[in-house]
């Protein structure tokens, strides 16, 4: 569930950056070119989907979906707190989560 949580977190960060409100908290005034927006959107939705498939494959449909929603909720709550109180930490945790998820997938 932890690995899936990390993947979901990275996916949510990608989708949040599509919103100018959050993008500008990290890079004030930045305007993303269309292809970057497209990439972020594709990456975000793919990561969210991959995490769901991974959990269902690992834990079965029942447990997998419940754990997916639980991990989604927590990842979302963490992101909300970060954007409200410490936007810069989103990048740090985002990079850590990407690294952690990649390492964990390599291990498997």
């Amino acid at each position: 569930m932890l690995i899936a949580g990390l993947v979901i977190y990275v996916g949510l960060v990608a989708l949040a950056l599509l919103k100018n409100r959050h993008l500008h908290q990290l890079w004030p005034g930045l305007a993303l070119p269309a292809w970057t927006r497209k990439t972020l959107s594709t990456a975000g939705w793919s990561l969210l989907t991959v995490a769901a498939i991974y959990l269902i494959a690992q834990r079965g449909v029942g447990n997998g979906l419940v754990e997916y929603l639980a991990a989604f909720t927590v990842a979302g709550l963490i992101l909300v707190v970060q954007f409200s109180y410490s936007p810069r930490s989103v990048l740090a945790l985002g990079i850590f989560a990407s690294g952690g998820a990649t390492a964990a997938v390599d291990d498997n």
Binding site: M1, A16, G62, N63, V66, A70, T73, V74, G76, F83
Partner: protein, 532 residues
């Protein structure tokens, strides 16, 4: 009807949420503590020895004790400590259904597997009582509480759906919380938590209603099977495919088979540690049946079952966990609600979602006040009675309930161990303290009442680990090195609650202080500034 669809929904959301908000807050807080009911059970009976008896030993003890008690029973239940849901070996008994069809009288007992005697520990309602309050409330029969909770849940479902429709920027504001902005922040908090926990919130409310389906739609089953509990039991057995249980007593006595042999067969079939519970139908009758249920390992609450002849011990039938679709749907919803399948990680996440749920309800109630305060405080004759009532009920419910729960736990440690009625007095103390918390805002200005109640709540929860250490010798300094996680977890959670409530009290105090010093003002002005 208000103008426009969204405004109508906003109106509906506001008022359905308000009228049942206080009851729902109680339901959410006590139900959420129920995620750790067994751990609270352990904490509330500190003198009970850790039970490490084998399954066989537990079954022998349970059968011995049930037979010693004598009498004629409809059914017995045996719940060994093979999963976290049973902190202690537990037996239950149920009398035959009453002539009017009502369920027979039930009782239960924790027992010591080494002596087959009732557990030698203080009397307490334990975590089970706290958990049961979230659907059975207290001081009233189930027929009343079922309808009350059913109506409140229905309102809640309406509030959730109308809330989603009202929330215009559900995706744009998905991650948005703007702190320190008064009403804006309350609305953000309410919305962001509700959106992120929406699947949980919707599931827990809808499944909560499904639990009450036999009460809320009482005619559906009884029109076909006849009224009363026993007929409903027959319906359930038929639906599950338990044909072997659709029998009556013969009336001729026959000794019950050796239950350990039956359990051995189940373990042979499923593997060790797979037996969750035993139910013995018509014990002592020649038509006795034994039903063994397997551990719950997924949201589907129904499990594989084995049904044995209760006198010969012969295996009669095997029931698979999955049955007809409607039953699977029902059992999955109930399983999701109860979370008996959840391991530690998921259990804590359930708990977290429950906390978010309680916060959503509390912030909604506060939002109602914050939104109306500017207009209300400008009125010539002061705020309306209704407004003041909501303000007072909010303090007494949101902060006061925390004090009352702390008092329930403190009572468990401080009431004399040999006091006969201590179990019921733990609950009386909870409700007496809660009543005081409702009366307190009448005599104090609302901002002061908030600060004072949160302070008391913080102090009470901070006191719990200390009182526990002094009265039991199983304080944090012992429980952490001993890896006694039920105790350590309980005490650490109390400290976390104390820190949270203390922070709230301090922040509120800071917000009210400068204003109060500048201008010693009447209540209403203070209240107005509290909204800033």
């Amino acid at each position: 009807m208000k103008n426009g669809f969204r405004q109508s929904m906003a109106w509906l959301h506001t008022w359905t949420g308000l009228v049942v908000g206080w009851v729902l807050f109680f339901v959410f807080v006590t139900g959420n503590l129920g995620r750790f009911d067994s751990e609270i059970d352990l904490w509330m009976q500190p003198e009970a020895p850790v039970q490490i008896a084998s399954l066989e030993q537990q079954i022998v003890a349970a059968q011995t004790r049930l037979q010693q008690r004598g009498g004629e029973w409809e059914r017995w239940g045996i719940y060994p400590t093979t999963n976290r849901d049973s902190a202690f070996l537990r037996i239950t008994w149920e009398a035959p259904a009453q002539p009017n069809g009502a369920r027979g009288k039930r009782g239960e007992e924790f027992i010591d597997p080494t002596t087959a005697a009732p557990l030698d520990a203080r009397a307490t309602g334990g975590g089970q009582l706290l958990y049961k309050m979230h659907y059975a409330l207290h001081y009233m029969p189930r027929s009343v509480s079922d309808w009350l909770i059913g109506i409140c849940s229905m309102f809640m479902l309406v509030a959730i759906i109308s809330g989603v429709i009202t929330h215009k920027k559900i995706f744009a504001d998905f991650f948005t919380f703007r702190p320190n902005k008064g009403q804006r922040s309350w609305l953000d908090l309410h919305a962001v938590l509700a959106v992120l926990t929406l699947p949980f919130f919707l599931m827990i409310t809808y499944s909560g209603l499904v639990f009450l389906v036999y009460t809320l739609f009482s005619g559906v089953v009884s029109n076909h099977y006849g009224p009363g509990y026993k007929n409903r039991q027959d319906f359930n057995n038929e639906l599950a495919g338990r044909q072997e249980l659709l029998i009556e007593r013969t009336g001729s006595a026959a000794p019950l088979t050796d239950l350990t042999r039956v359990v051995q067969q189940a373990e042979y079939q499923w593997g060790t540690n797979q037996v969750r519970s035993l139910e013995i139908l018509y014990p002592g009758d020649s038509n006795a049946r034994v039903r063994i249920a397997r551990q719950i390992e997924s949201p589907l609450r129904s499990t594989d079952e084995l049904i044995f002849d209760g006198t010969t011990g012969e295996l009669l039938s095997e029931i698979p966990a999955e049955g007809v679709a409607s039953r699977n749907f029902y059992e999955t919803l109930l399983g999701l609600h109860e979370s008996l399948f959840a391991g530690w990680w998921l259990r804590w996440l359930y708990f977290l979602s429950g906390l978010a749920g309680a916060t959503i309800i509390a912030s909604g109630l506060i939002l109602w006040v914050v939104k109306r305060r500017p207009k209300q405080t400008k009125q010539k004759n002061g705020p309306d009675f209704g407004f003041k009532l909501v303000e007072g009920l909010n303090v007494g419910t949101i902060a006061g309930l925390q004090i009352a729960i702390a008092a329930f736990f403190l009572a468990n440690r401080l009431l004399p161990v040999d006091f006969a009625a201590r179990a019921s007095w733990e609950a009386h103390i909870l409700f007496a303290i809660w009543l005081l918390a409702f009366l307190h805002p009448i005599i104090r200005p609302i901002p002061r009442a908030w600060v004072e109640q949160w302070t008391v709540a913080a102090l009470a929860f901070a006191a719990l680990p200390i009182v526990n250490a002094v009265t039991t010798g199983r304080g944090l300094n012992q429980s952490i090195p001993a890896a006694d996680w039920a105790f350590a977890g309980f005490d650490l959670t109390c400290l976390a609650a104390a820190a949270l409530f203390g922070t709230i009290a301090y922040r509120l105090q800071q917000r009210f202080k400068p204003v109060a010093a500048k201008r010693p003002a009447p209540v209403t002005t203070l209240a107005q500034e509290a909204s800033a």
